[in-house]
């Protein structure tokens, strides 16, 4: 009788731990989703700002062409090509900013300030997203998560490769 009770207690503990772990993993997946949503939103905003810069007076026709193309590519890219397209946009913006002069025009200065603020935020957003992804990957590779398939059918999140130095 005592053995049965003990076994029952053990089973309960195991069940509790499984439920706890599943909640934990679910929360991590949620974190990956929200941090991606945040990063995605910021990147969209950056593309919009890039388009505005392309239309403004500070970019010559060639730069405008390059920027517009890069911005549209970044916006329309499928998820697997997204980081390459975003790096392309970073490169195009970098080209523009290296030979940027002292702009007197107020709206242009506003645009550039918005761009640099966005760049700072994107950098942080990438760090947050990468942390969430690596955490999730780490947890999912643990024994009980694999054995009991606690992740269900959720796809394994992939790290968003972003070359921080071109930002």
């Amino acid at each position: 009788m005592r053995n049965i009770l003990l076994a029952l207690l053990l089973l309960l503990i195991v069940l509790w731990h499984l439920s706890f772990s599943a909640t934990r993993l679910d929360r991590l997946h949620h974190r990956v989703e929200t941090s991606w949503a945040n990063l995605d939103g910021l990147l969209q905003r950056r593309a919009a700002v890039a388009l505005e810069i392309a239309r403004s007076e500070m970019s010559d026709p060639a730069t405008a062409l390059l920027l517009t193309a890069a911005a549209y590519q970044a916006r329309d890219a499928d998820i697997e090509f997204r980081s390459a397209a975003e790096s392309g946009l970073s490169g195009a913006l970098g080209l523009l900013l290296t030979d940027v002069g002292p702009y007197e025009n107020l709206s242009e200065r506003d645009l550039l300030r918005e761009l640099s603020e966005l760049t700072d935020k994107i950098r942080i957003a990438i760090a947050l997203h990468v942390d969430a992804v690596t955490r999730t990957q780490m947890v999912r590779s643990k024994f009980i998560f694999k054995t009991f398939r606690l992740a269900g059918r959720a796809p394994l999140p992939v790290t968003y490769e972003f070359e921080a130095d071109v930002l």
């Binding site: 706890f20 909640t23 934990r24 929360r27 991590l28 974190r31 989703e33 929200t34 941090s35 949503a37 945040n38 939103g41 935020k121 942080i124 957003a125 760090a127 947050l128 990468v130 942390d131 955490r135 780490m138 947890v139």
Partner: protein
């Protein structure tokens, strides 16, 4: 960006009415956010509930517990946990900001109890401890819940990476730089003067290292004087030092913010001989903002704050001969001392609350994307009805 009014809940793990860097940080941040139009509630352990500002909610009386080489006034246990849950349930917060959630405290309890957008700030820098292998597995699932982690310095960040294998965004501690930038130099503190601010009785603040360096400095600069500001029993300290040095030493006691600004503008050199236990060095940032040339020990926190020596001189920690040498060099070289002070002053602008709070707020915004606000974690569990009864009887 500070235009949408939010309900922000901040948890301070240490006793509100005991002095300390984390408490000051929380108080300044809360007051800055309130001034920016947000609704802020701070949950903290409190000794005297009648003496706290109205944005502070007491979680009970703190217990004195030895932690990280000092006595920490923190709080945990079932009653504190019930209070934390009550505070979260009643607060309807948009975001929770937990300070130092990796120590046994109400911050950890709040992280355990809550679900939703949460930001954690890690203040402490500590060497890798063996115990972390034991507590790591307990902490990990809890710390994982934070949507963003902030470290106040590179030292705090590497502590976090080593202990919990997780990365953090570095946002420095804030100071009200404008309070210190316009000090008027006072005759009584000018000349070949060295300044020290802090609780000088604590050995880790390193005043004794400065005292050991003083005889050497006095040989080369006969008129050198030392001013020590900060709370503490100066009589005991004076008895412990060489009688010949006593005349060069003056204790000012606790000084007002205005006097502090004047003090920093007057002295020739500010000395920070701390031997460790510092994660950021708020007083150094204030000294830089006040326009003082700084000599500090090369502990990691000071090294990174002073840009490896660009914004202040570094001496090898606990080496009073090296300290003496650098004091003499800088007292003799007016140009270099002034250049150092100027570089430091412009460097300190990035620690101003205007800059720092903006960065913290943008982390809040990022954490709240798609957020539903903060609620109790137990509300969406299957055995909820059972827990609800238990919780209501506990309150």
């Amino acid at each position: 960006m500070l235009n949408k009014s939010l309900k922000i809940g901040i948890v301070c793990p240490y006793g509100w009415d005991t002095p300390g860097g984390v408490q000051n940080h929380v108080r300044d941040l809360a007051e800055f956010l309130i001034a920016a139009g947000h609704q802020v509630s701070v949950l903290a352990p409190v000794i005297d509930e009648s003496a706290v500002p109205d944005y502070v909610v007491s979680a009970g009386k703190p217990l004195a517990i030895p932690y990280n080489g000092a006595v920490a006034r923190i709080l945990f246990g079932p009653i504190a946990f019930a209070r934390v849950r009550q505070w979260i349930a009643g607060g309807e917060f948009d975001i929770l900001h937990l300070h130092e959630p990796a120590i046994p405290s109400i911050s950890l309890l709040a992280c355990w109890a809550a679900e939703g957008p949460m930001v954690g700030t890690f203040h402490a820098a500590a060497k890798k401890q063996k115990a972390i292998f034991a507590i790591g597995p307990i902490l990990e699932p809890v710390i994982e819940k934070l949507s963003a982690r902030i470290a106040v310095s590179e030292a705090a960040r590497s502590t976090l990476t080593e202990h919990l294998e997780t990365d953090a965004v570095v946002i420095p501690n804030g100071i009200y730089a404008s309070r210190y930038t316009n000090g008027t130099p006072q005759e009584r503190w000018m000349g070949n003067t060295l300044g020290f601010i802090g609780r000088f009785e604590e050995p880790r603040k390193g005043l004794s290292i400065l005292m050991d360096a003083l005889p050497i400095v006095a040989r080369f600069a006969p008129d050198v004087r030392v001013f020590v500001a900060g709370p503490g029993e100066s009589d005991d300290f004076i008895k412990s030092i060489d009688p010949q040095l006593r005349g060069r030493l003056e204790f000012l006691g606790r000084i007002s913010e205005e006097d502090k600004a004047n003090f920093l503008a007057s002295i020739s050199l500010y000395i920070a001989p701390n031997t460790g236990g510092e994660s950021f060095g708020i007083i150094l940032a204030e000294a830089l903002a006040g326009g003082a040339a700084v000599i500090a020990s090369d502990i990691p926190a000071f090294d990174s704050l002073l840009g490896g020596g660009r914004f202040g001189e570094l001496f090898s920690s606990e080496d009073s001969t090296d300290l003496a040498k650098r004091i003499i060099d800088l007292l003799r070289d007016d140009n270099r001392r002034k250049a150092l002070a100027r570089a430091g002053k412009s460097h300190a602008a990035q620690f101003d609350w205007d800059v720092v709070a903006e960065q913290i707020f943008s982390i809040y915004e990022m954490s709240m994307v798609g957020g539903t606000g903060v609620r109790l974690a137990s509300e969406n569990r299957s055995w909820n009805p059972l827990r609800a009864r238990e919780a209501s009887s506990a309150e």
